[in-house]
């Protein structure tokens, strides 16, 4: 009883989200999960992995896997130039990088502004926190930690396999 109540209280405070674009769509993730934003650098590829796993980079001595979200979700064009951005996520004990088209801004959202998402194609519902309309933009709020630790991302050893 108590924890759920507390959670509700927490969400009443505005939360900050980092927004980025994939193709024509705008996504938002919890800013607290973001460690840093870097330009795209060349990766060391790993054999026999899904194409959206670009490989690994050296992040100040840490070996960090890089996922191209554009390939994974088939959004936009997977080109790598000086505008390509890697968002380094810090998810609990793991550090993972995601490649996106561009990073837009950081916005604050109150819970009332977050609406449940309708069933739609790209993302599995369970990885969505909801949708938010800010001015003319529609943001897709992603539970990035859940998505990244899911079996379909193949980033983490699944005990079942």
């Amino acid at each position: 009883m108590l924890p759920s109540k507390r959670r509700r209280e927490d969400t009443r405070k505005p939360r900050e989200f980092l927004t980025f674009t994939l193709g024509g769509e705008e996504y938002a993730i919890d800013i607290l999960k973001v460690q840093e934003i870097r330009g795209y650098e060349s990766v060391t590829r790993i054999a026999n992995t899904p194409t959206f796993i670009k490989g690994v980079i050296n992040l100040r001595g840490l070996i960090v896997p890089i996922v191209d979200m554009r390939i994974k979700f088939n959004l936009g064009e997977a080109v790598y130039n000086e505008f390509t951005v890697t968002v380094i996520l810090n998810l609990g004990k793991r550090v993972i990088g995601i490649v996106v088209d561009s990073v837009s801004d950081v916005i604050s959202l109150n819970e009332e502004e977050i609406r449940p998402a309708p069933e739609f194609g790209t993302f599995d519902m369970q990885y969505l926190l909801g949708l938010a309309a800010v001015n003319d933009r529609m943001l897709i709020l992603v539970d990035i930690e859940r998505l990244m630790s899911s079996a379909e991302m193949a980033l983490i050893e699944q005990s079942a396999t």
Binding site: I46, I63, V64, P65
Partner: protein, 674 residues
């Protein structure tokens, strides 16, 4: 006003564990018939130190237990009691019980008091009834004194009282010390004292310390002792904070509050730890952090060195000197830092004497164990992982290797079996061997068993191949399953553990003369000597240890067997594995390249790569920390240019080559059959 002593508790547990370990080592080493006086003293001191700490931290049961233990040991060392083997057995068990008690306390579990009470009885029995007789004051009958001193404050400052406490602790176990300011002039200092001396003796001793007329000694009977208020306080205070830690004038007023506020017995422990102050306890995390940082430094240094090569000659010479120096210093720093993690293998060896003793007793065998090279150092992580396999090998040698005394005599061998466990450095490896002078492995029995469990085994096999069968899961030739070994789990686990450390295991056995099992391991898991190779523009690292040699074959040397390529090298056909193919990389256009012959456990494969880049030492990084395990890759490292390179898993590459070759052979066989 009580001082929080919980922060000392951890130190106490660690110290106590060390004392228990040394107690065990001493007990095992002691010559029962002619015990060395120094050894007996050391045994006594170990128990005494535990007792001191236990009392200081209010672990009443432990303090009482060790007190009884100590009393018996005291009589042994004073030669009032002759040491016997059953006695040593009980002492060992008592040591175990203390260890368990400490573990329980450290983990906030309820210690098994009943077991301890029973063992305490055993201890007393071991010390024979004389312990309980009145002639010798012992634990249970030792009078506990309550002493009250009214002291002149002018003469006895706070420090003087603390010094007094120290002096009194020389007489016995001091507890429940209280200081109460009675008036401007006098202060009352009271304490309980557990000492094996008569009241008169005590009075005399105290006279030297404080005016006799101001001292009241109250001798308490045994019954009172167990119910007296100090003891009740012990029990009532689960935090281990009790009266006598109330410092004289409050901890904050004392410059070294913790030290002065400690009871005398605590100071005892402090003193004993000062003796081996040549080593310090450091959290492993800190050491690992240091190693990581140095690893970074090495990489950064390499990056600078590489960048400097692009400069023009004039600038470069200046820079080169500095860089050479930097490089030397970084390597030295790296070596020094890695050496912090190095621990002597005695950490693992120390448990073997006890194991041997217990097992030999249980199996009815007589065995002499010899340990060699205990000071050989290797990485902590390797030590942790080698402990179980090594224990298993020793257990195996005791159980299956060495025969019973009767069998040995019948075979014309000395009654006492001989087991040597040896450790030594050999190149960049550590070699640990377990040698017994037992019956040796039985070739026929192993082959028969192999066929029984449905393994493909031929009697034409070389000994080495036959011996390797014992590492097969579920394989045991023991006629009877004992609780020691012989369940068929174990040797395969040994093999796996050794392999996961990048090591090898060899068996050498001569029927009737004995068996030697040799484990060969890399010294550290933190760095690796590697060879960098390039394939389709990607750089990979191969562990140097598994590279036998490399060849540049002519087209004529390469043949195919059912589509699988093989190469003739030194009169042997070796299957070729193309790294490009395995990793789905675009193959080199002209099919040229170099074959690196990898050898793991006498199995070979020729790995086709585009180019050999060079030999280098790499710092191992985990790929799993942020990603996952990748087949064929054992880890990653960072190259001089800051890029990540994957380290290839030679064992996997070789086994893949052989399973492919095996499949090809099987297909060929089937086609042939049709």
């Amino acid at each position: 006003m009580a001082l929080d002593i919980s922060r000392f508790a951890k130190a106490f547990f660690e110290e106590a564990r060390e004392h228990v370990a040394s107690l065990e080592a001493l007990l095992i080493a002691v010559d029962i018939r002619a015990p060395d006086e120094e050894a007996l003293n050391a045994i006594f001191r170990a128990v005494h130190s535990v007792k001191g700490g236990a009392a200081a931290f209010g672990h009443r049961h432990l303090a009482e237990f060790t007190h009884d233990f100590e009393s018996i040991l005291d009589r042994v060392r004073k030669r009032k009691l002759a040491l016997t083997k059953p006695m040593v057995d009980v002492f060992l068990k008592a040591g175990d019980a203390i260890g368990e008690h400490i573990d329980a306390l450290a983990q906030d579990r309820q210690p098994d008091i009943d077991a301890m009470t029973r063992l305490r009885q055993n201890l007393l029995d071991a010390g024979l009834e004389s312990v309980q007789s009145a002639s010798l004051p012992s634990a249970t009958s030792a009078p506990r004194y309550h002493v009250l001193m009214e002291l002149d404050r002018a003469q006895f400052s706070d420090d003087a009282i603390n010094a007094l406490k120290d002096d009194i602790s020389g007489l016995g176990l001091i507890s429940a010390t209280e200081v109460e300011v009675l008036s401007e002039k006098t202060v009352a200092f009271s304490f309980d004292l557990d000492a094996d001396i008569e009241a008169d003796e005590l009075r005399e001793s105290l006279e030297f310390l404080a005016p006799a007329e101001a001292t009241v000694i109250d001798e308490r009977a045994k019954e009172i002792k167990s119910a007296s208020s100090p003891d009740a306080r012990f029990a009532d205070d689960p935090d281990g904070e009790f009266g006598f830690f109330t410092p004289v004038s409050g901890p904050a007023d004392l410059p070294d509050a913790s030290a002065s506020a400690m009871s005398a017995t605590e100071a005892d422990i402090q003193l004993s730890s000062l003796v081996d102050a040549t080593s310090i306890r450091v959290n492993v995390v800190k050491v690992d952090q240091l190693i990581n940082l140095v690893g970074e430094l090495v990489i950064a240094e390499a990056m600078v060195a590489q960048a400097a090569q692009g400069l023009d000659a004039a600038q470069q010479t200046v820079l080169a000197n500095g860089l050479a120096q930097l490089s030397r210093n970084t390597r030295n720093l790296q070596d020094a830092v890695l050496a912090i993690r190095m621990m002597p293998i005695s950490f693992v060896f120390s448990r073997l004497p006890r194991l041997t003793r217990d097992l030999a007793d249980r199996l009815g065998k007589e065995i002499e164990l010899e340990l060699q090279g205990e000071d050989t150092e290797l990485d902590k992580s390797v030590i942790e992982k080698i402990a179980d396999p090594l224990t298993h090998l020793v257990r195996n040698a005791l159980d299956h290797g060495i025969e019973t005394p009767e069998q040995r005599v019948a075979a014309g061998k000395p009654r006492i079996g001989y087991l040597v466990v040896r450790a030594a450095h050999q190149g960049g490896n550590i070699v640990i061997s377990v040698t017994d002078d037992g019956a040796g492995l039985n070739r026929d029995k192993i082959l028969a068993k192999a066929r029984e469990v449905g393994l493909d085994a031929s009697s034409n096999w070389q000994n080495d191949d036959v011996w390797r069968l014992i590492f097969t899961p579920g394989f045991s030739t023991a006629a009877t399953v004992t609780d020691v070994s012989g369940r068929g789990v174990g040797m395969d686990v040994v093999w796996q553990n050794v392999h996961s450390l990048g090591g090898k295991i060899e068996i050498d056995s001569i029927p009737g003369l004995g068996t030697t099992m040799t484990i060969r391991l890399p010294l550290t898991l933190a760095i690796l000597d590697g060879m960098s190779v390039s394939v389709s523009g990607e750089t990979y690292i191969l562990p140097l240890a598994s590279i036998s040699h490399s060849v540049q074959p002519s087209a004529a040397d390469i043949k195919t067997v059912n589509g699988a390529k093989v190469v003739m090298v030194r009169d042997e056909y070796i299957p070729i594995t193309s790294l490009a193919e395995l990793f789905n990389l675009p193959a080199a256009a002209d099919g040229s390249g170099i074959l690196v012959i990898l050898e793991v456990d006498d199995m070979r494969t020729a790995l086709q790569v585009d180019e050999l880049v060079g030999q280098l030492q790499v710092v191992l990084k985990s790929l799993e920390a942020n990603y996952r395990r990748v087949k064929g890759v054992s880890g990653a490292t960072i190259l001089g240019d800051g890029r990540v390179a994957l380290i290839l898993d030679a064992t996997y590459l070789v086994s893949v080559a052989h399973s492919i070759a095996g499949e090809a052979r099987a297909i060929a066989g089937r086609q042939h059959g049709n």
